[in-house]
C-alpha cells in the first residue's frame, strides 16, 4: 500500500460518517414492527402451551401464523400506498416484501391442509 493510504482512509472515515436515522423513520419502523408482533401474539402464545402436544390442536396456531403473515403483508402494502407518492421505489421494495409474505401464507396454508 502507498504512503497516501492512511490519509485517504482518514478522509474516508470523515466522508462516510455514520448517518443518524430520522426520528420519523424510527417511529415508523417501530410502529410497524409492534403491529406485526402484536397481531398474532395471543394465538402464538397458545401454541406454546401443553395443548400443542396433541396434533389435533395444531390447526389453529398454524392459522394464526397465516393470519400474522397476511396481516404483515397487508401492513406493508398499506404503508407502501401511503408513501408511494413520495417515493416510487418504496413501493417496489414493499411489493417485494409483500410477495414474500404471500409466499409464506401459501406455504403455511399447504402445511395446514396436510395436518388436516
Amino acid at each position: 500500500m502507498s504512503e497516501a493510504l492512511p490519509n485517504l482512509e482518514m478522509l474516508l472515515r470523515e466522508a462516510l460518517a455514520p448517518v443518524e436515522p430520522p426520528a420519523d423513520l424510527i417511529e415508523r419502523v417501530e410502529s410497524t414492527l409492534e403491529s406485526i408482533t402484536a397481531l398474532a401474539a395471543e394465538e402464538l402464545e397458545a401454541w406454546e402451551l401443553a395443548a400443542m402436544r396433541d396434533p389435533r390442536n395444531w390447526v389453529r396456531p398454524a392459522a394464526a401464523i397465516v393470519a400474522g403473515s397476511a396481516a404483515g403483508g397487508a401492513l406493508i402494502i398499506l404503508q407502501a400506498r401511503r408513501r408511494a407518492q413520495h417515493s416510487p421505489d418504496g413501493l417496489a421494495l414493499a411489493r417485494d416484501a409483500a410477495e414474500h409474505a404471500l409466499k409464506d401464507l401459501r406455504r403455511e396454508a399447504r402445511r395446514l391442509l396436510r395436518v388436516r
Binding site: L5, L8, R13, E14, S87, D89, A92
Partner: protein
C-alpha cells in the same frame, strides 16, 4: 437461538429482536443511505430490511452459532438494494452530496460542505464498482471488520481483504487524478 435444543418463546424472540433493532438501526440506515444515495429510498430500504429480518430472525439466530447478526442484517439490506436496482435497472438516483431534502440533521452534508477533498472522495467512492463501493461503506461508515464484511458479502476473509485493498487503491487513483 435454540441453545441445547431449547425453544425460545415468541416474547423472548421479540425482545431479542428489539435489542438487535436498537443496536443496528443506525448501521442499516447508514448503509442504505450510502448505498442508494437517496434519503427516501434509504428509509424504505431500512424499514423493509427490518421487516424481512423479523420474519427470519429465529432461523438466523439458530444458524449464527452465536456470531453477531450485523452482517446478516446488512446482507438483507444489500440484497434488497440489489433487487431495487435490478428491477429499476438504474444506479442511485442522486449523488449523495447533492441530496438536499433531508428530514433530519445530516452529518455528511455538514462535513462535506466546504471540504473539496471530502467531496472528491465521495465522488470517487461512487465511481467504484458496486462490490468495492459496498466494502468501503461497510468498513468506513459502519466500522465493520474484514470478517464481518466477508459474511455480509458472502466471501472469504482473504477475498474480502483483497477487495478492500483494491478498492482503496482504485479510489486513490481516482482521487489523485
Amino acid at each position: 437461538m435454540q441453545d441445547a435444543g431449547i425453544q425460545k418463546s415468541k416474547s423472548q424472540l421479540d425482545a431479542e429482536f428489539s435489542e438487535l433493532y436498537r443496536a443496528h438501526l443506525r448501521d442499516v440506515y447508514s448503509y442504505a443511505y450510502y448505498r442508494v444515495g437517496d434519503h427516501h429510498d434509504a428509509e424504505d430500504l431500512t424499514e423493509q430490511t427490518f421487516l424481512q429480518a423479523y420474519r427470519h430472525f429465529e432461523r438466523a439466530q439458530r444458524e449464527s452459532n452465536g456470531r453477531p447478526l450485523r452482517p446478516w442484517l446488512i446482507r438483507i439490506a444489500h440484497n434488497l438494494a440489489a433487487n431495487l436496482y435490478r428491477d429499476r435497472s438504474r444506479k442511485p438516483a442522486s449523488p449523495i452530496e447533492e441530496t438536499t431534502t433531508l428530514a433530519a440533521p445530516h452529518t455528511t452534508e455538514q462535513l462535506v460542505e466546504g471540504r473539496d477533498e471530502l467531496s472528491r472522495v465521495l465522488d470517487g467512492v461512487r465511481e467504484l464498482p458496486d462490490d468495492r463501493r459496498e466494502a468501503l461503506i461497510m468498513r468506513f461508515a459502519l466500522g465493520m471488520d474484514n470478517r464481518e464484511i466477508a459474511r455480509a458479502l458472502d466471501r472469504s476473509d482473504g477475498a474480502t481483504k483483497v477487495l478492500i485493498h483494491r478498492a482503496i487503491k482504485q479510489l486513490e487513483g481516482i482521487v489523485d487524478e
